[in-house]
């Protein structure tokens, strides 16, 4: 079932269709959360929370609005928001991820743990590059959808994705050099 049909059915029978929405999109929600937060148990909580938020929203929305939803972009937005609120709640409990220290993080954490693991490099990207990179490649959204999700102009997003890729390359190369010299 494609998303247009799924949205149409959600609009007419939420309880009968929601499980299909969950099964179709749960891996995406989890992958986005995992690559943003770099912690599997946090990502499980966030994906679950996002799906519950989606249900509660669909309960309130008029049928017309549900039928017109771009489910992929909409769920990505909810997942991102759920990840942000989880990070906010955790901010008191443990030190935040270093957001602007790709190089320093891989150096301080040591090549043996961070190494060239792409997931760790993504997690170390500054926030403004990380979300566009995750949505563009991990989740395969179009720039127009990412613009919807993040509320940034497409041109800005393309530049941020470009810059993000460059940072990942640099970090990857640095990590490899470190591995060689170790």
């Amino acid at each position: 079932m494609d998303d247009t049909e799924l949205a149409r059915r959600l609009a007419s029978d939420l309880d009968g269709t929601f499980e299909t929405l969950v099964r179709t999109h749960v891996d995406r929600c989890f992958s986005i959360a995992l690559r943003l937060l770099a912690d599997a148990s946090d990502a499980e909580e966030v994906a679950q929370d996002a799906l519950v938020r989606a249900y509660r929203a669909l309960e309130r929305y008029p049928a017309e609005r549900i039928r017109e939803l771009d489910l992929r972009a909409w769920l990505a937005t909810i997942t991102l928001n759920a990840a942000r609120s989880r990070r906010r709640r955790q901010a008191d409990r443990r030190p935040p991820l270093s957001l602007d220290a790709v190089g320093s993080e891989s150096r301080s954490a040591g090549a043996q743990t961070v190494g060239s693991s792409l997931a760790s490099l993504v997690a170390g990207l500054p926030e403004r590059y990380r979300a566009p990179i995750v949505l563009r490649y991990v989740d395969d959204l179009t720039y127009s959808q990412i613009a919807q999700v993040l509320g940034r102009p497409e041109g800005t997003l393309k530049a941020q994705v470009h810059r993000g890729l460059a940072l990942l390359h640099a970090a990857h190369d640095a990590a490899e050099r470190e591995e060689l010299s170790a």
């Binding site: 309880d15 929601f18 499980e19 969950v22 099964r23 749960v26 891996d27 995406r28 929600c29 989890f30 992958s31 995992l34 690559r35 499980e44 994906a47 679950q48 799906l51 519950v52 249900y55 509660r56 792409l118 997931a119 993504v122 990179i133 490649y137 991990v138 989740d139 395969d140 890729l165 990942l168 390359h169 990857h172």
Partner: protein
């Protein structure tokens, strides 16, 4: 460099992963489209309790998990999975409720039940631990005084026995009546565990006594009402009917609100 970028993009796509199965299941449970169950200690031994994000949905004594699941699916019709334990907050609320604390709010999921059934179950929740009321009392209290048999039937279909204390509702003639969790003997055990003197109750019933009054306050109660239990033996006056009590100048207790009920 271009080849590298292409590799990097391909590698990034590889970061898509499958969610652990528990994520979908827990989301469906949270919104009430699936349920989980685990066992809980009760006055009649361990019982199995099913719940979802809306509340407790099903309680039963079952020989084993398979039987419980079969009954749940037949009666409720949602997917069900075994959990290790009831979540702490819910478990505490259930424990307090079974212990007689009526302030302990146990959320209940009573979707797809008739308004009449739900009214009967909500009313049963008001009967204090250690007390019983006749079926006719529930019927009168929910404004359907003639629907005594329907009340009995609704109580027999109570999906959450013990949590909704249908065992505190007895026959109009004072005998303890049927019980969906395993017949009169089990009902007697639950009531005894709550402090009801079942033998005394049955004894009163066999002598035709339905109400008890105090000749000092001139108030008449159901025999198990906490007000009635405070009456000194010397001042305790048995009545066969409310009409007889009224004729002697007794008014109904405002706490247990006795009503005239047929056997």
């Amino acid at each position: 460099m271009n080849a590298n970028v292409t590799n990097l993009e391909a590698d990034l796509r590889e970061l898509r992963v499958s969610a652990p199965p528990a994520v979908a299941r827990r989301a469906l449970v949270a919104v009430g489209l699936a349920d989980e169950y685990a066992s809980v200690a009760s006055p009649i031994g361990d019982v199995l309790v099913a719940w979802n994000g809306r509340g407790v949905s099903f309680v039963a004594r079952a020989g084993d998990d398979t039987e419980f699941e079969r009954r749940f699916v037949a009666e409720v019709g949602r997917p069900l999975a075994r959990a290790d334990a009831v979540p702490d907050r819910l478990a505490n609320a259930i424990r307090r409720r079974l212990g007689g604390d009526r302030r302990a709010a146990v959320p209940l999921d009573l979707r797809n039940r008739t308004p009449f059934e739900v009214a009967v179950w909500r009313k049963a929740l008001e009967i204090p631990r250690g007390e019983v009321r006749p079926y006719g009392w529930i019927a009168a209290e929910i404004g359907r005084p003639k629907a005594v048999r329907a009340v009995g039937s609704a109580l027999g279909h109570n999906p959450v026995p013990l949590v909704v204390p249908c065992h505190r509702v007895v026959r109009g003639d004072g005998t303890i009546g049927q019980y969906s969790m395993g017949g009169p003997e089990v009902k007697r055990r639950v009531l005894t565990s709550e402090g009801v003197d079942v033998d005394a109750l049955v004894d009163l019933a066999s002598r035709g006594v339905r109400y008890v009054g105090s000749d000092t306050t001139r108030i008449v109660c159901h025999p198990t009402c906490h007000q009635a239990r405070r009456i000194q033996p010397a001042h305790r006056v048995p009545f066969r009917s409310l009409a007889a009590a009224a004729a002697d100048g007794y008014r109904p207790c405002r706490s247990c609100r006795p009503v005239a009920v047929a056997a």
